[in-house]
Amino acid sequence: MVAVTARAIVKRFGATEVLRGVDVHVPDGGFAVLVGPSGCGKSTLLRLLAGLEDVTAGEIRFGERDVTRLAPRDRDIAMVFQSYALYPHLTVRDNLAFGLNLRKTDLATIASRVAEVSAMLGLDLLLDRLPRALSGGQRQRVAMGRAIVRRPQLFLFDEPLSNLDAALRAQVRVEIRKLHDQLGATSVYVTHDQVEAMTLADRIFVLNRGVVEQVGPPRDVYDHPRTRFVAGFLGSPAMNFLDGVQVDAGGLALPGGQRLAIRDPERFGDRLQPGRTVSLGVRPHDFVVRPDAPDLTVEVELVELLGPELQIHARLGGRPLAVCLDSQSGVARGDRLPLAVRALHLFDPETGQSLRV
């Protein structure tokens, strides 16, 4: 439908600079997810795209069109709010038809579109109810329907699922992705739920303190975080970090006297001069049990069974370490667990930048 490009966006509220030069590009039909910790400026960015706020500096284009100064109504977008923002005085039907009415669409078209969308979302039986007579999930679907019915060029979602329970969230998540594929419209989606981010996105934008830390397909961002922040933010449980780890020839000196060999040092170019200190990051899922040739051994403090897997709280030289293993592993409290590391990440302790080249 349309590609979204935002260049060097700066947004200030009075003296506080909320966005500090953000670039976003979402290709036509793409599904971009903005993630980041609370207060990092996700909603602000989304509202800028919607035209609900004016940029302080920068430029926003939808396809070839410069929309930086356009009012929301002229941008041909639809937005799903976290609060849903259903019009309390209108029935579901009128809520759905609201935008079309404003655009003076003829009644027959409105009726057929509303019917189509309500069938798609299973809202047929609710059409004459007022929002206050709906459940949370139903309200969410009305909010979605209100966006879809307009057939906009661009969908904006601001944490649309955060008010739903876990099961419903998973279900709607799938529906959203399906709808996206079906409608083919470009979408920008804000969330701070990793699972949503990972599963929905074609492209993830990780925001931190008003700047984009990393962009890329979810797999890429997950596997190769560019900064320590991104590494720690994506993934659950979060990546283990061991700070102040010394590099020696071809390996790392871990706390507690153990040594971890780096299997493919060429990935880091010449950045691993012996003697320098780095931050080591290993995802809990990147450990495997390897009794024969372990990379390191940890003491098990606590074992939690999470259904398919075990989450193990362990210690390495006195420092806490989280390890996720298959639930069949048969680990018990107090065990000394020999582990191999499938993948490791190294970061500059000062800048937080990944040391990979």
């Binding site: 005085h89 209108l90 029935t91 009128d94 009415n101």
Partner: protein, 731 residues
């Protein structure tokens, strides 16, 4: 589009429809406007006379009934603007006042031969050698006799008072506590309210003796205490008073009573041997300046004053004509009684100073009748008060300093504006404000024109003295007078500072009670488990739904010492529980009179607070309360730590506004206690109203009060914010 949203088309349509309904009914040029204060039979008689006139001459006459009390203020508001009547029928005693305000034209040309009118009535409308009205009727009180209770009429007032009566029946009912009611008695002691030289007449031994006499009548139980006109009528009508001193208006109410009655002149007071002489009110047809220039209006006056018209009035309404050629009909003993009385009566003084006698005299009489002061002391106080009110206004001052200051102020403002206009940040902010201005501009214009402008002009009036139209600049003299309590003791009753204290007390007590009761009821009513919620809600809102001037008067009635429902309750309690509580004379002491006012105002105001509370409570989500409950908060803690803080923002504006309104709530004070006792329960606004309307029309002085009230409220409401503001350096 859904029918639930309203389009501007609908609103506009509704507006247009309403405005069409309200389109001014244009006054026709050939129309004569005649104003009067009649109702019932008198109004019918007037219509008949006017109809005859209209049919005979072909002039259209527009009749308008105006409340007697507000006649003057309505004339003053309309005549200068050409909207007033050509002819109006009013009491002669207002002539002096109307002349001062330039509301009267010469009525001489419409009068006809002097011989047609009784000498008294001609005297009543004559001032400075000119005739200011054409006399129509004469009205005075006379003695009504219930012939079943009193076979023969004793010659003297003492004789009447001494007549043995059944329990619960008074020998005589008259308005002992009012100045008007006291005047016949005063005349019997050869005293008067206003001396010929317009000085206070209600002084000296004659006045003191008349007061002592009245007090004795009341103390002996021969005359009811605290009787107003309505009570006098009711007592006589229900056979609970053998005699009553009342006027022609009582006649209409006596239709259908079971006893025989008649009307005779007032008796002699044995102590002096002089007759009681009531003041005579002559109703006259007066002309506005516009009317006196119109031949048709003069014709109308002639028609009103004609012998034929007098006969119609006498026949239909039983009014006593002043015409010498209209005899009292043979078959009307009542009218004969009134005529006999009228011949003995003296016209009420039409001097504008007369108006200033009422309030001091009234207060003195009340004090004496309640035994709170000796006649001498009360009269001395009254004389002082009269002199105070009549004191000439402050001398004119030079407006130059004020104009200089004003000019300087404007210059500063202009300078400031120019500086701001050059500041780019300010310009930027102004530009950003433009969209908002589109939403507020119309309000600014309308409120500015109809609220602010009058307010500013009104405030400026406080710098002037004298009557409207001929006022002159006096600078801050009015304020000086007020703040120095007009030279009297600073905390004497009626001084600004005393009234200020009372006003603050009044506001505080009312607001606390409004809020307390409103909150309590709101909280109870908001409980979802409560049955009959809707019913309670409707019933509790009712005090707010009924016009307050009605209910305020109902409350006053309930507090009547002798016949009020509160006394009824006290007596009932005595009966049931064998106690011996005394009925309270509510309006004779400050504390009880104040309490009566407060009770009324609380009653009027609590529904508002209740509704506001209920509204605010809907904004408190149940889960917050539950969270607090889980956190271990007791019910009381939940109320004080969660509910109240949460509804505070919603309540705060209502409380502020409520406090401001209470501060200026003159209705209740005026209607319930009327300032009793002795003006001590007056608040600042009622004081301002008295200066503007019941004393000498000193608008400048009243405006100064208004400005002071405004400043006080402004400071009081802004004080918390000012105190909370950090010193400038901290920024």
């Amino acid at each position: 589009m859904s029918s639930r949203t309203c389009s501007p088309g609908h609103v506009l349509g509704a507006l247009l429809a309403v405005l069409a309904l309200l389109a001014p009914a244009l006054a026709r040029a050939d129309e004569l406007r005649l104003w009067h204060a009649y109702r019932d039979a008198e109004a019918t008689a007037l219509v008949e006379i006017v109809e005859e006139f209209a049919a005979r001459t072909g002039h259209r006459v527009e009749l308008l009934a105006v409340a007697h009390e507000s006649f003057g203020s309505k004339l003053a508001a309309t005549i200068p603007r050409g909207q007033g009547p050509h002819v109006f029928i009013d009491s002669h005693e207002r002539i002096g006042d109307y002349r001062l305000r330039a509301l009267l034209g010469d009525a001489g040309p419409a009068l006809g031969p002097d011989a047609d009118y009784s000498a008294q009535s001609l005297a009543a409308v004559t001032q400075d050698g000119a005739r200011w009205g054409v006399p129509l009727n004469a009205k005075s009180v006379a003695l009504f006799v219930n012939t079943r209770l009193a076979g023969a009429v004793p010659d003297t007032l003492e004789g009447i008072a001494a007549l043995p009566m059944p329990a619960g029946v008074y020998p005589l009912a008259y308005e002992a506590q009012s100045a008007y009611g006291h005047m016949p008695l005063l005349a019997a002691f050869d005293g008067r309210m206003l001396a010929d030289d317009a000085s206070f007449g209600f002084v000296g031994p004659a006045a003191a003796r008349s007061l002592a006499f009245a007090r004795e009548l009341v103390e002996r139980g021969a005359v009811p205490r605290d009787a107003d006109g309505a009570l006098v009528s009711d007592l006589f009508r229900s056979g609970r008073a053998a005699f009553a001193i009342s006027g022609p208006w009582l006649v209409g109410q006596l239709a259908g009573v079971e006893f025989a009655w008649r009307v005779v002149p007032l008796p002699i007071v044995g102590e002096t041997g002089l007759p009681m002489r009531p003041p005579l009110t002559v109703e006259a047809a007066m002309l506005s300046p516009q009317g006196s220039a119109s031949p048709a209006a003069l014709d109308l006056v002639r028609a009103l004053a004609s012998a034929e018209a007098a006969a119609v009035r006498q026949r239909l309404a039983g009014t006593l004509s002043v015409r010498t050629d209209v005899p009292v009909p043979e078959d009307s003993p009542v009218l004969a009684g009134f005529r006999a009385q009228a011949e003995l009566a003296a016209p009420m003084s039409a001097d504008p100073a007369m108006r200033s006698t009422w309030e001091p005299a009234f207060r003195a009489i009340r004090k004496v009748l309640r035994g709170q002061a000796s006649p001498e002391d009360a009269l001395a106080e009254a004389a002082r008060r009269f002199a105070d009110v009549r004191r000439p206004p402050p001398p004119a001052a030079s407006p130059t300093p004020a104009l200089l200051l004003l000019g300087l102020g404007l210059l500063l403002v202009a300078f400031h504006l120019v500086r701001r206009a050059r500041d780019p940040a300010a310009r930027q902010a102004l530009r950003a404000s433009l969209p908002a201005y589109r939403y507020v501009a119309h309000s600014v214009v309308v409120v500015g024109l109809l609220v602010f402008l009058p307010l500013i002009v009104g405030a400026a009036t406080s710098l002037f003295a004298g009557r409207p139209g001929e006022g002159y600049y006096v600078g801050l003299a009015n304020f000086f007078e007020i703040l120095t309590a007009r030279g009297g003791p600073l905390l004497a009753t009626g001084s600004f500072w005393f009234v200020l204290l009372v006003t603050f007390l009044w506001t505080a007590v009312n607001v606390v009670l409004h809020l307390g009761i409103g909150l309590a009821l709101g909280l109870v009513l908001s409980r979802p488990t409560l049955r009959l919620r809707a019913l309670y809600r409707v019933l509790l809102i009712l005090p707010w739904a009924v016009p307050s001037y009605v209910t305020a008067l109902a409350w006053k009635g309930m507090f009547h010492q002798q016949y009020g429902a509160v006394t009824g309750l006290v007596l009932a309690i005595n009966e049931w529980f064998g106690t011996s509580l005394e009925p309270i004379a509510w309006f004779s002491r400050f504390a009880t009179a104040f309490a009566a006012n407060v009770a009324t105002n609380v009653w009027l105001g609590f529904p508002f607070m209740m509704v506001v509370t209920l509204g605010a409570l809907t904004a408190v989500p149940a889960d917050v309360l539950e969270a607090a409950e889980v956190d271990g908060a007791s019910r009381w803690q939940r109320l004080t730590r969660v509910t109240l803080p949460m509804i505070r923002p919603a309540l705060a504006p209502a409380v502020t506004l409520g406090a401001i309104w209470t501060f200026n709530m003159f209705n209740v004070v005026f209607l319930v206690s009327g300032g009793d006792p002795d003006g001590s329960t007056d608040i600042l606004v009622s004081e301002a109203y008295r200066w503007a309307f019941t004393r000498e029309a000193q608008y400048g002085y009243a405006a100064a009060y208004a400005v002071l009230i405004f400043l006080l409220l402004l400071v009081t409401t802004r004080l918390p914010a000012w105190l909370a503001r950090r010193p400038r350096g901290a920024r």
